[in-house]
Subunit: 197 residues, 2 copies
DNA sequence: ACCTGAACACCGTTCAAGT
DNA sequence: ACCTGAACACCGTTCAAGT
């Protein structure tokens, strides 16, 4: 890659990161090019699709998540490792609003630039899940895709302003379904009376 | 309303129903007006916002869901009533792809034309939930909004092509979190070996 | 009262023309 | 080899002009 091209690529990526962080994964590509002071065609040359742009944006983070799964597998009890990783996965996705939809679609589309990353993440989760299942800590009737789905659902919920406030409890509810006999992380505070919903 | 206006209104609604069923809740309004052989301004006159259009579209179905909740409350065991209603709620939303996002946003926005309907549905669910909680059948640390959130999450998952195949099991997993001691509905089939995820 | 469609400000995507 | 921006086909939304 030529030096000027490399410069454009890097700058484009930095701007895109900021814009996507602020406006979500469906931010205007035109706007990104504009803010990067670059022709619209230049953006398309470096990132032929929106998925390609997000793949570049997410690659390092997704790799970190895979690495962290390996770490947790080596150093933690199977159930703790899984729960910690799930929490991390949801939190990560929450950085970039709307990325969940994209990753979910990419998982189903081998042509997507994001496909490989998503498959890798699913595999990392599936390993942690299998280990917990082998020790009887996790429900045995779940597979890696379903674990991915539950993470995606929790991430989606966290992105909705109506539910953001409830995200921690919703996480606990779903986690308790995956790992039935795990005590709640938070100190099981008694709930406000149920008159208001 | 004048007779010609009424005719336009009805026809617009019928066309919109078909288009939204096919293309989802973010279907082009222009396209709907075009297919209804009506000026774009006419659509906006009758339905000043997309939410208003969907409110008209969903009103009868949402009312039916509220009514069904009352029926179930009168004639079924608390836990069965709740599970049946949850299943129904997810299935309904699944008819119109993308409606979940809209309803979730409306729940948080009192100005939305869909707000009242969503609040009513939440209340209907909350009643069924409270009854099941009173008999110790449902987790006590969940409120109506969280029940709504879990329904929304399941509906969202069902809309994703990658997860559609897993929707029944994902429903069972979440349902088991809400109603911990309920036996699975399906005959707990042994799972395929976990080599493929 | 109600309807129409042009007008405006946006998109995503492509591609001929430039350096 | 890379960059640019006009061109095209779409949007949602508004509003003057018509009946």
């Amino acid at each position: 890659m030529r030096a000027d091209a490399k410069k454009n690529y890097d700058h484009l990526l930095a701007v895109a990161r900021a814009v996507v962080k602020e406006q979500g994964a469906d931010a205007s590509l035109r706007d990104i090019a504009r803010q990067a002071d670059v022709g619209l065609g230049t953006l398309y040359r470096h990132f032929p699709t929106r998925e390609a742009l997000l793949e570049a944006l997410l690659r390092t983070t997704l790799d970190e998540m895979t690495a962290q799964a390996a770490d947790l597998e080596a150093s933690n009890a199977p159930d703790d490792a899984l729960v910690t990783w799930l929490r991390e996965a949801v939190a990560f996705t929450h950085q970039y609003r709307g990325v969940t939809e994209l990753m979910t679609a990419a998982l189903d589309d081998p042509e997507s630039a994001l496909h490989a990353s998503c498959v890798t993440v699913r595999a990392a989760g599936a390993r942690l899940l299998a280990r917990a299942q082998a020790e009887g800590k996790a429900r045995s009737d779940i597979d890696g895709t379903e674990l991915f789905a539950l993470i995606a659902a929790l991430a989606w919920l966290s992105d909705q302003p109506a539910f953001g406030r409830h995200a921690p409890r919703l996480f606990e509810i779903v986690a308790s379904a995956i790992l039935p006999d795990r005590p709640d992380t938070e100190g099981r505070t008694p709930r406000r009376p149920k008159t208001r919903s």
